[in-house]
Amino acid sequence: MNTLGLAPVLTSVVRRDLTLALRRRSDVLTTFFFFIIVVSLFPLGVGPEPNTLRSIAPGVVWVAALLASMLALARLFASDFSDGTLEQLALSPQPLVLLVAAKVLAHWLVTGLPLVLIAPVLGLQFDLSAESVSVMTIALLLGTPCLSLIGSIGAALTLGVRGAGGLLALLVLPLYIPVLIFGAGAVSASAEGMPAAGHLSLLGAFVLIALVLAPWASAAAIRIALE
């Protein structure tokens, strides 16, 4: 028997969370269908005026993505916290920061990535042009990892707190605002025939910053929650 290196440990964490998501498919599907239904309600509510739909599309899709990713956050650490898995994770010889990052990656794969993949289909409901749809998909691809990373801080901070769900929303939604502004801004810009590259670069910068800071903050919050 010998001690594993960093990569196999991280792989093991990701595989475990993916296996768990596969066993609890209903949780994953809830987030996914929540996103689809919220986005689909707007064309029904606002009416079939193409110009209105085109102008509200970016905001609607992004707000729905924010809410859907919020909905999934409560599960990120809570069950691991209550059954002692998080304790074992904190006692791993590998850095907790990276193990947390691996958990967030697994979380994004099952809750963020499906939203990115279904978004082009939903864009059709809003009569978006092919170019806007592709910009929206790229923006979501850059933005949803941000949502998972920022959200992980909130999920870690609310561990063991009563009424964590509501508190989590209040903590995390304000932090999502920059992602919302530039994510929706990218789609709006391309719909108006302007280049979206600036918005997308900013989203890219957000991902990089969140990737560096969020796991570190979450790991610190987890250590505090375990005390």
Binding site: M1, P8, L20, S82, E87, Q88, S92
Partner: protein
């Protein structure tokens, strides 16, 4: 060697213990006793570095535990109050993922052998929600077989919910570990006879 120097633990408004010092040489066992709420679990979590002591330090081989986590955790096997067993995963998955995240390399054969040693042969594939309390505990304890090369074991109530046969099994693992030169810290309300082995008792007053 594990050393605790002048430890003080405060939970909420209550001071659980203070001025607690001991050292535990290789091949020795420390049995922490005391009534419910006297701080046994807190002491164990403090030794692991999960809890921050109000005062005092914990050292492993001369190094402070909380400042050299990586090397300390590579020598630690901790079984907490919560068994860290997922209801949705099978016994085999629980054990191999659990050891994987603790950095212990195991093959599937080793995992299955450990499970069957703990009386879970033919139940490796079953989701753990279908297992009884004692069987879930056995899944967690099967780590003792596979984490044998970790020199320090810290076990919180390892005998809870176990039948006589499983208690005997855990006991034999403890004996093997001590004779290998490993050290053990455990809490238990059950009287278990360790014969001539070097067992030190630490009684917390509460």
């Amino acid at each position: 060697m594990l050393e605790a120097v002048n430890l003080e633990c405060v939970r909420g408004q209550r001071r659980l213990f203070h001025g607690l010092s001991f050292d535990l040489a290789d091949g020795h066992m420390l049995w922490v006793l005391g009534p419910n709420g006297s701080g046994k679990t807190s002491l164990l979590r403090l030794l692991c570095g999960l809890l921050r002591p109000e005062a005092g330090t914990v050292r492993w081989n001369g190094e402070q535990v909380r400042s050299s986590r990586d090397s300390f955790y590579a020598s630690l096997l901790y079984l907490g109050h919560a068994p860290a067993v997922k209801d949705d995963l099978s016994a085999r998955e629980n054990l191999s993922f659990g050891l994987g995240q603790s950095g212990v390399a195991v093959s599937r054969q080793e995992v299955d052998a450990a499970l069957s040693e703990f009386g879970l042969a033919d139940r490796e594939e079953l989701p753990c929600r279908a297992l009884s309390q004692g069987q879930k505990r056995r899944v967690a304890l099967a780590r003792l077989t596979l984490g044998a090369d970790r020199p320090l074991w810290i076990l919180d109530e390892p005998f809870t919910a176990l039948d006589a046969q499983a208690i005997g099994l855990v006991q034999s693992h403890l004996v093997q570990h001590l004779t290998r030169g490993g050290s053990v810290v455990l809490t238990s309300h059950q009287e278990v006879d360790f014969g001539a082995l070097p067992v030190k008792r630490l009684r917390l007053a509460g």
